[in-house]
Amino acid sequence: MSYFSDIYKGIKTLLTGMSVTGKYFLHSQKGGITQQYPDNRETLKMFERFRGEVVMPHDVNNQHRCTGCQKCELACPNGTIEIIWDRQVDPETGKKKKLIEKHIYHLGMCTMCGLCIEACPTDAIKWAQNYENSVYDRTTLTRVLNKPGSKLMPGVED
């Protein structure tokens, strides 16, 4: 007898559960929850704090804010950032000044911890919201952040 009542109870709770799924089947949420990802690239926008990759903003005169203090290089846990720098004579004051030649960023090694951006005293680097980082050749993930021919913005000191 308990055999039949077990079957009855099993089917009853199964139908109770299916009332939930049935509710969503008939009254689906407005617009749906699933994002149609490759098709919605135009409208898909990441949050402003999203950590996609590290970039160095340049202004219209091709000037950046990096003084080459190497604090980001020191803060990085896994050697993602490499800075090649040189002491050059500043034409205005005539003194020798530390200037960057290349700010190399290995995106393939980056863990997106954000310590470099925390450490930067002059806000020279920031996060970009780029999220499509897959490439065919990993050498393309090594990037030089300062643009060719760029200079240090006047007035930026660390």
């Binding site: 077990d6 109770t16 999203f50 803060a75 846990p77 954000g114 310590l115 450490a119």
Partner: protein, 373 residues
Amino acid sequence: METTTINNNFKSEEYFINMGPQHPATHGVLRLLLTIDGETIKKVEPDLGYIHRSIEKMCERDSYQQIVHLTDRMDYLSSNINNEAVCLAVENALQIEVPERVKVIRTIIGELTRIASHNLWWGVMGMDVGALTTYFYAFRDREMINDIFEETCGARLTMNYNIPGGLMFDIHPNFVKRVKEFITHFKTKLPEYDTLLTNNVIFQKRMRGVGMLSKEDAISYGASGPVGRGSGYSCDVRKLHPYSALDKVTFNEALRTEGDSFARYEVRIQEMWESMAIVEQLIDNIPEGDYQVETNAVIKLPKGEFYQKVETARGELGVYIISTGTKNPYRLKFRSPGFSNLSLLNHIAVGGKIGDLVASMATLDLVIPDIDR
């Protein structure tokens, strides 16, 4: 060679099979060597090391700020609580008092992490015992928490939001609004979880009386978290040794005495309610103030040994630092909850069937990177 000697000792009916390292029910690269007689399990031997990344050794190389981001990669489902554990250990060693604002935000984010983790566990648990719908429903609700984290912390899973001395940056202006939205949303969805799965007789028959663990065994195996509390072992670190803002909130410790898989299931469902209650108590009055205390750029801990334990979604996580006064720890040991919880798998699975092993393993809620580190 080893296999042949094992085979000689076998009785004719017994044989062994590998479950994993690539098995969907082990949720990661865990290999279980099962000795089986027919379908009855005689012995379960977990084989670890497939995702060992030597995080503890890497910590000896890194500075105290850099250690925090490695803990994201241990128990990735409760990454914010792991971060908090390291930060609390360093702050206690330096005797820094962080502002009230930091404490409250840390607690809110920690409890949201716990909800997200239990939510994912619920979905995957249903899938393990054959209810595929739960997976989609759980991910639908977890997505809202992930969005909150993405907006405030900048990442969805490996946040690295805590730093020794406070938080990396202040909460996003939308944070409070979004959390309240989530709480009202989730309060209507959690009863649906019960209708869909908990009250289902077929599901209950799979879970009740399976994977029995007595209170004595739970204590002697070092079980913690929902696994220990499902056996009546009161071990909530949030109650016993409150940290951050947890001493200011009232909540009940989810406790069951049955000790079977269903008890562990019920504990986690109740913990989601309790975590929501904690968030509700704190979200309306986050105190004003700084989100960070200035620390030295190079943190040097005083000579000595420091220990801090927190309650992650899986149980008690301990951070044990030995410092010699330099900028790196001499040794850093993590007491991970998953490792102790895995050790009792053999005890609870022997005598059951393979299907019961999957059901009881799902209620242990193992995260393999947490076990291997």
